[in-house]
């Protein structure tokens, strides 16, 4: 029964959602099911929060390696929870929303969490450089084609590309670097992306059918 009931629910929901695409009166069922999912996900927040506290508390108590980070996590978690729940430092008081302008909760979000997130995001610039360095080394024929294409796009997206090839007459303007960059993006690149998208669409259909028919049940914890 532990397997049969979830499989039955999956089957019914899957079939109903497929039918709703073709039967107008059931069109809103997709939205209704996503509301059910949101309700379940809200309860799951408690699971996540509980796990976070339990694992870090246990780590700090046992003085495991890097237990100091667990203390920072716990302090941050409890501080944000308390400030948000009891609206501490909120000019509108307990009845105001926790994200009201000027509230301590919002201030911490704006001046601590956002800059920290931006810092992590900005690391991407450096990682793009290091990944490009590795990817664009002309080790073989394919990598050389990639390098040349990347170089053309890089130049084509800057004014330098026009500066270098702007003198080419209009009848041969495809040879201007910005136009070559546009052609690479709109033709070979787009064709490749669309091929991947078609494959993804078919893969999703196939996997969904496996799940709906109960052939794939690993996500439920196994085949037994």
């Amino acid at each position: 029964m532990k397997r049969e009931i979830p499989l039955l629910i999956t089957f019914i929901v899957g079939v109903v959602l497929i039918v709703s695409v073709f039967v107008p009166p059931t069109e809103t069922l997709g939205e209704d099911f996503s509301v059910f999912f949101d309700i379940i996900a809200v309860f799951a927040f408690f699971l996540g929060g509980g796990n976070l506290v339990q694992s870090h508390f246990s780590k700090a108590r046992k003085r495991q390696t890097d237990w100091g980070y667990s203390i920072v996590t716990l302090v941050g978690f409890v501080a944000m929870l308390t400030i948000g729940l009891f609206k501490l430092g909120n000019p509108g008081g307990i009845s105001a929303p926790p994200t009201a302008e000027g509230s301590l909760f919002q201030e911490i979000f704006d001046f601590v969490i956002m800059p920290l997130s931006a810092t992590m995001y900005s690391l991407l610039a450096f990682f793009v450089a290091s990944a490009s360095y590795r990817a664009f080394r002309a080790k073989n024929r394919e990598a050389t084609i990639l390098l040349v294409a990347a170089f053309i796009i890089l130049l084509g997206r800057t004014p330098f590309g026009m500066l270098v090839t702007g003198w080419i007459p209009e009848s041969f303007d495809i040879l201007q670097i910005p136009n070559m960059a546009i052609w690479i993006m709109n033709s070979p690149n787009l064709a490749g992306q669309r091929a991947i998208m078609i494959g993804i669409g078919l893969g999703v259909v196939s996997m969904s059918l496996r799940i709906i028919l109960g052939i794939e049940r690993t996500y439920l914890g196994g085949d037994d």
Binding site: P24, L52, M120, A135, I196, G203, L209, D223
Partner: protein, 423 residues
């Protein structure tokens, strides 16, 4: 002296202030003249002599039609714009659309700009009766159209606009089920080798030999995303191998439901491998829903614990390269898979193996080696065959139709466009 010096010092500022005020007044005048007519189109109560009236003609042929194939919630309106609605020097400044429900009072439904000739009225009730009329207005004149015939939106039970989608879904879905059944009956099926999945055993073995953990990252979306589901199904196969090899797995997640599903999956895998005692809930832990908070935590785990193998399987966004490059920097063998085309180049650049798009969804079936699962992969090939044939025919028909103006080829292109366009 002091006063004089001070006055001369302030003169430039006064001059600029004067310029600013003049500029402001001019701009106000310009804006007053070019105000949006749709926002300032109320009737003037001041009597205007007939000679100054800018008379405009009303719209004609106003028709209200029930939108076919919906749940009785939409009416489509179409009309021929006023003859005074011109692209240049138009006397008409815009239109006001009114709706009357069940012979009640007219209510303003929408303000429309010049050139508008259609409108869709949605969220209606099938038990009510609706009629509409339009007002075309100039700066001092309103021309009202005739009312439409009262109409009720009707509920349809089948959406025939999607008949071709149904046909394609039926063929592809039917092919998948057919091949699953064929495989179940024992028919041998050939599935090409996928390098990334062939390397799974090697990657787990490497971690075992090095005595370092394996990190599994299921993306940052929840269980309602098919990529996360694919990631979890791969986790089931991978963790069975991990249990067999008695290696340590670490799985930080960014969604609570994924945590619960992953725990169940790993627990079942350890039971199947005959090592239930080796399983611990600590293998999977929730970090945060916040995208970059999660990235920071996972990067920290990578740098501190130096995993020998990293699996990145699921839905990834801007964090894909940050995670993959950090994994690369700690010397981990990395196998990634996602169905987000924008993130694939990053994984290809930074990971040892990448499952591209459909391979992510095929991975679980491929790793299981079960005939009925492999049969579903074969069914996909029918879909690919249809796509390839349609692309080939479409390219040929478009080329021949355009180059030699062959009407039949143009019809083929039109038919293919209809077939593959979802309403």
């Amino acid at each position: 002296m002091h006063v004089g010096k001070s006055t001369s010092l302030y003169l430039p500022q006064l001059f600029f202030l004067f310029l600013f005020i003049c500029n402001f007044l001019l701009l106000s005048l310009v804006y007053a003249q070019t105000d949006d007519p749709l926002l300032n189109s109320e009737d003037s109560s001041v009597a205007i002599p007939d000679s100054e009236l800018v008379v405009v003609a009303p719209v004609t042929s106003l028709i209200a039609e029930d939108y076919k194939y919906d749940d009785g919630k939409q009416i489509n309106l179409s009309w021929v714009p006023s003859i005074d609605d011109q692209l240049v020097g138009s006397k008409v400044l815009g239109y006001r659309l009114f709706r009357i429900i069940d012979d009640g009072k007219p209510e303003l439904l929408a303000k429309l700009r010049c050139g508008a000739n259609s409108y869709s009225d949605g969220k209606l009730k099938s038990e009510s009766v609706y009629s509409y009329y339009l007002e075309a207005f100039s700066k001092n004149f309103i021309a009202t159209s005739t009312r439409t015939v009262p109409i009720s939106p009707e509920r349809e039970w089948i959406n025939f606009d999607r008949k071709y989608l149904f046909l394609l879904a039926f063929i592809i879905g039917g092919a998948v089920i057919f091949f699953i059944e064929s495989a179940r009956r024992g028919k041998k099926l050939f599935v090409r080798k996928i390098a990334g999945l062939e390397a799974v055993d090697e990657a787990i073995g490497r971690a075992t030999e090095m005595g370092r953990p394996i990190l599994f990252i299921p993306g940052i979306l929840d269980m309602n995303d098919v990529q996360t589901l694919a990631g979890i199904t791969i986790l089931g196969r991978v963790s069975q191998q991990i249990a067999n090899y008695d290696t340590k797995i670490r799985m930080p997640v960014s969604r609570s439901l994924v945590m619960t599903a992953a725990r169940e999956t790993i627990k079942a895998a350890y039971q199947t491998a005959g090592r239930p005692d080796q399983y611990s809930d600590d293998m999977v832990n929730y970090v945060t829903d916040e995208q970059f908070g999660y990235v920071a935590a996972v990067d920290g785990i990578m740098v501190r614990e130096k995993p020998a193998t990293v699996f990145l399987m699921g839905a990834f966004f801007a964090e894909s390269l940050i995670l993959a490059e950090t994994g690369n920097s700690v010397g981990a063998i990395q196998i990634a898979g996602t169905a987000r085309p924008a993130q694939l180049p990053f994984f290809i650049a930074a990971c040892d193996f990448t499952l591209i798009g459909e391979e992510l969804f095929a991975a679980s079936a491929y790793l299981s080696g079960e005939p009925k699962q492999l049969g579903s992969l074969k069914g996909q090939d029918v879909g690919k065959g249809i796509a390839m044939a349609a692309i080939l025919i479409g390219v040929l028909a478009e080329t021949i139709g355009t180059a030699w103006n062959v009407e039949f080829m143009n019809d083929v292109v039109r038919w293919l466009t209809i077939l593959f366009t979802t309403q």
